[in-house]
Symmetry: C2
């Protein structure tokens, strides 16, 4: 059995910088036609100059002329209309992090007064710049996303012309909210389609599956699978692939993040085929994102075949999801 | 400020064997007058001879003549009246593990038909041997204990003369059930009084706080604190202190267990004092267990003072809870 994906997109990707960028950028660039690149470096990407410089680094590291890094800015409520108008053409979206909620997010928003955010969000609405949101409170780890849902709803209602992306959703509550507001969209990761908290901490503890938002309950995974497998037009693939060096994952104080970029398309083909919906993968992994963001990525044909794929133990110093395991699909060729 | 505990008891303790036993037994024996020792070695303790030999090893390793290891057998539904009558004087209780539910439990019970268990449990009732239970199903990790509660209730109803100890309870559901049946009792650990899942996986991942049953929600911890702090006569301290070599904790596939034995009394004094109920600690950590089990431990006075205790990074090759942190109480002297 084989299957061809046209211009697959990863609409939530961490490429880091320096040596890590050199390791991981080619892995995404090889199989994807484009990716929305997250801005949470140290320091975060907050100016046009930083965006341009980071994009240049990515293009150099990615070693593939048909890979478009769609750039993002790290949200600040200081951004005004003039600033945004000036930066608009260099970015595809702006990413909002609540302060301290995940890796390198200490500079994020710590005040969810919509009045305080309004000037920036109104300017973004007017200029047509989408807002990507890491939607978690600082509450109990299993409740953080569900607790954030009312904030999504307030944002959606108050800024009806703002395209809001609920990033890496993990709960049935998020899926329900998504369906209620026209201007809400969502990315779903590979790992949240596969795992629940059971896989992280139900048997032995598995640090390489530890991520934020943490994997939730079986009924939450079911809700995600339902909208992903039908390729609902409001959802798109965003891996949230988040590489950390092995030493940071396999030690006390293990960093959050699952590294899925180099296995994502194979593992998606496997799970979509198992669900009997392989024909919906094209929409989930490209078409929906093209419509939501209004983008036309480079042409790239990715041929997948149903044949064993032995996932390497490491890529550079980074351990991928399914390390040492066998997937039933693999990328055969990229044209 | 100072405070004296009389003959403190740890009614759920893992001492392991071999070199690990040599490392950890003296740490418990120094500060406790006795401990109920779990039988889940490889192979598990299932005969009178094994009990006697293991007890001898513990006594030799513990280096303290005033420490009583109260022994347990690993529950098997093959145990009949004659076997139990013969072994009775060498043990204090029998520990039941559902198959595969925790460290070294693969030989446990995989059939919760009460009819299948009845002959053994009826003999235990008659002979007055308490049943200690690791009460978890193999369901979703956050639900396992609550799902097991109906089994506790069926056991309590069907064997009203059997003393049943709900081991290391972690949920409000278990606390509620405990209050409804005369013959149900429970142990509560140190770590489940301190932590929730947030401490394990809410920030960076903390393998040294990963245990089974996993730490639950804030409202669950609240329910445990309530009955522990009032030293309810149905609850007693059982550390479930479970040493693993550092290499097994700080790696993918991290083993479950928190090592608390050498910090338990200091940390209990701290949290009971913070709750304003230091006067209830004696009951929680000794008197209740003496009544529930009908035991009289060796006399041992443990003097605690409110003074900084810098917890060592390691004991042998084992990392304790609070490693490298400062507790506000410490054991000053043992008389």
């Amino acid at each position: 059995m084989e299957f061809t994906l046209h211009s697959p997109l990863d609409m939530h990707l961490h490429l880091r910088d320096g040596a890590m960028l050199e390791t991981v950028a080619p892995l995404s660039a090889k199989e994807f036609a484009g990716a929305l690149v997250m801005p949470n470096l140290v320091p975060p990407i907050t100016s046009k100059e930083m965006v341009k410089e980071y994009k240049e680094q990515i293009l150099q590291a990615s070693q593939d002329g048909r890979f478009t890094p769609y750039m993002t800015l790290f949200f600040k409520s200081e951004y005004d209309y003039d600033f945004l108008q000036d930066v608009k053409d260099t970015i595809l979206a702006i990413k909002l992090y609540p302060a301290g909620i995940t890796t390198n997010s200490s500079d994020g928003v710590d005040n969810f007064s919509l009045d305080a955010l309004a000037p920036t969000l109104e300017a973004m609405s007017e200029l047509g710049i989408p807002l990507c949101v890491h939607g978690e409170t600082n509450g109990f780890v299993m409740d953080r996303e569900a607790e954030f849902v009312p904030i999504y709803e307030r944002l959606a209602k108050r800024f009806p012309n703002l395209t809001i992306i609920m990033e890496h959703i993990t709960t049935k509550e998020a899926v329900e909210a998504l369906m209620c507001y026209e201007n809400l969209y969502a990315t779903i990761t590979l790992h949240h389609l596969y795992i629940t908290l059971d896989d992280v901490a139900g048997g032995l503890l598995q640090p390489h599956l530890f991520c934020k938002p943490i994997a939730k309950r079986p009924e939450d995974r079911m809700a995600l699978r339902k909208v992903a497998f039908m390729a609902h037009e409001k959802v798109m693939f965003g891996s949230d692939s988040a590489p950390h060096p092995r030493s940071k994952k396999e030690a006390p104080g293990c960093a959050a993040g699952v590294f899925t970029a180099p296995v994502a398309l194979a593992a998606l083909a496997q799970i979509f085929e198992e669900a009997g919906v392989l024909e919906n993968l094209q929409k989930f992994v490209s078409d929906n994102a093209q419509k939501i963001y209004g983008i036309t990525p480079p042409k790239k044909e990715v041929r997948l075949i149903k044949a064993p794929f032995e996932v390497p133990e490491k890529f550079g110093d980074v351990v991928p999801m399914f390390a040492g395991q066998k997937l039933s699909w693999r990328v055969e060729r990229v044209l």
